[in-house]
């Protein structure tokens, strides 16, 4: 009984903490990194006062947000108003359960991993919608409606991209999908090559799904101030912030897992040196490669933000429905043909 409790309850809880705590820390440091990068792109310094080179800026912001007053607008729906940030955050954290960090490091090796991810990301919409409705504010309501329409539209494109991936990999399990990208041709064995348009669509849809620039119609500070979370302050706002960045990092990891070979090295199959473990990972692969890839993908978010002007609302909808979804549907058939005629082979045989 006690053994079972420890094995089935305590250890999973510790594993969950091992994922969630570094994730929250990563969000804090990523916000600092974002402000620095955008600062450099704008030819200015970015945060540089708190801590060496400003690295503690994020923590100062967290303390500031936590000690601020949480304001409840007049005639707001009290229960839903405070539930909404939590509904936004929980799916963003829960989705991390099925992420395989390396061949053995995975919290839940679920068979239907992709479906689970789709389910969790589709739940995030509720946080946005309820925040907008419960705030009893026109700005928030408009922002919520825009955000919801946008997120539902791009979820479709994202789902179709994942269909292409699972056609090639032949599995919904994320570890199996990464293992299908093993091979002897280095990074040409990864799925980005046969699925190049889908890779691009997936990542852009991910940017739209997380409401990041240039698709930040939900916030659009020049039109509707801050969209669905305009009425939120203090720690309630901090939860929305955390959810947005947790989703951003999640999309970066997923792009790396689905299209960039997960934890595999870009040199796989090319180098056959025998070296000690601390240097061997460079060509045999390891979780560090996944982190490097995810970091590069998340850098793209910042690059987009500093580069592109915001899309107009009808342009966003047109891009999602009339450009991305048809291309993704067509590529499902292309992926099927590639698989059927053996152009793309998966696993070590490829």
């Amino acid at each position: 009984m006690a053994d079972q409790l420890i094995n089935q309850v305590l250890w999973p809880l510790i594993y969950i903490l091992c994922i969630v705590l570094p994730l929250v820390l990563a969000v804090a440091m990523f916000v600092y990194w974002e402000r620095k990068v955008i600062g450099w792109m704008h030819v200015r310094l970015g945060p540089n006062k708190i801590g060496p080179a400003g690295v503690l800026q994020a923590f100062a912001d967290v303390v500031k947000l936590l000690v601020k007053e949480v304001i409840l607008p007049t005639k707001a729906n009290r229960f839903l108003y405070f539930m909404a940030p939590m509904i936004a955050l929980v799916p963003a954290l829960a989705a991390w359960a099925v992420i395989p960090f390396s061949g053995k490091m995975v919290l839940s090796n679920a068979n239907a991993g992709i479906l689970y991810l789709l389910a969790m990301t589709s739940l995030g919409v509720y946080g946005t919608m309820l925040a907008g409705w419960a705030s009893n504010s026109r700005y928030a309501m408009l922002g919520a409606m825009r955000a919801t329409a946008q997120m539902i539209s791009y979820e479709l494109a994202m789902g179709l991209c994942l269909v292409c991936v699972l056609v090639l990999a032949g599995s919904l399990n994320l570890s199996d999908i990464v293992n299908a990208q093993a091979g002897s041709k280095g990074f040409f064995d990864w799925f980005w090559l046969p699925l190049l348009p889908v890779f691009v669509i997936y990542f852009i849809s991910g940017v739209a799904e997380t409401n990041r620039l240039p698709f930040d119609m939900a916030e659009g500070e020049s039109e509707i101030v801050a969209g669905f979370h305009v009425e939120y302050s203090g720690s309630a706002f901090a939860l929305f912030f955390l959810a947005e960045y947790a989703n951003l990092i999640l999309v970066s990891f997923l792009s790396a897992i689905f299209f960039l070979g997960g934890w595999f090295s870009p040199l796989q199959g090319w180098v056959h040196a025998d070296a000690p473990g601390w240097i061997n990972w460079i060509w045999t692969g390891g979780f560090i490669w996944l982190f490097i890839k995810a970091f590069l993908m998340s850098f793209l978010f910042l690059w987009f933000r500093a580069t592109f002007p915001r899309y107009r609302y009808d342009q966003i909808m047109r891009l999602g429905w009339k450009v991305f979804i048809p291309i993704a549907i067509a590529w499902v058939f292309v992926a099927g043909l590639l698989k059927y005629y053996g152009v793309v082979t998966t696993g070590m045989g490829g």
Binding site: L115, Y116, L123, Q315
Partner: protein, 219 residues
């Protein structure tokens, strides 16, 4: 505590949540709360299915109903302007009809269960476990081999429904303004912007202005 007991406890917990949430759908005064209770009902049903190892169906329920259908539902309900008092008046009036419908459905379901037990056809072993593959893989193989024709017919019917819904609700408005994206893309910059080349010469500062703003170009 053996796994069966734990599963039983979980089953009752999820069922309890599902039943309570389903009851609150019809008893809650606030329509948005009612929609959220319906979401909770679907979610609890999905949890029950996961307990039965039907992971694909459970996650599909969450993706389709919770993630898409109910979001659109909530979208509409949020924008409704409903007089809650007026809505509540009809509750007692329509209660008998509701009770009759519920009782008939209950009798039908109990009858069905009774007939099934009299046939004494057990469901048998889980075919997915018997085949040694995951629930999702088995379902995929069954759908695309044994039930391919019904599956494709169902897909066709759904597509027809989709097209019909669009055709029924599409209004051609002559006064609507729209932009043709292809025309926008085909625009030549030379038609819209005239670039004027000017030599980068610094004009000689005149005596009057050089005192105040040295080096500023003259108008």
């Amino acid at each position: 505590m053996n796994p069966q007991t734990l599963q039983l406890i979980c089953f009752y917990a999820f069922s309890f949540v599902a039943v309570v949430a389903a009851l609150s759908v019809i008893t809650l005064k606030n329509t948005v709360h009612a929609v959220l209770a319906l979401v909770l009902t679907f979610f609890s049903a999905a949890c029950l299915w996961i307990l039965l190892d039907a992971e694909f169906l459970a996650l599909a329920l969450v993706v389709v109903y919770v993630g898409a259908v109910m979001v659109l539902f909530l979208f509409v309900v949020m924008m409704l302007d409903i007089d809650l008092e007026k809505m509540h008046e009809g509750f007692v009036k329509f209660l008998p009809v509701g009770v009759i419908v519920a009782v008939v459905m209950l009798v039908e379901m109990v009858g069905l269960i009774g007939v099934r037990t009299m046939h004494a056809q057990g469901l048998g072993a889980n075919p997915a476990t018997a085949a040694g593959v995951s629930n999702t893989a088995w379902l995929g193989q069954a759908l695309y081999t044994k039930f391919l024709l019904p599956f494709e017919v169902a897909a066709l019917i759904l597509t027809v429904g989709l097209v019909a819904a669009v055709a029924l609700t599409l209004r051609e408005r002559s006064d609507a303004r729209y932009e043709s994206a292809s025309r926008q893309v085909r625009v030549n910059p030379r038609d819209r912007v005239r670039l004027v080349k000017m030599a980068a010469v610094r004009p000689e500062p005149s005596a009057a202005t050089s005192e105040n703003t040295p080096g500023e170009p003259q108008p």
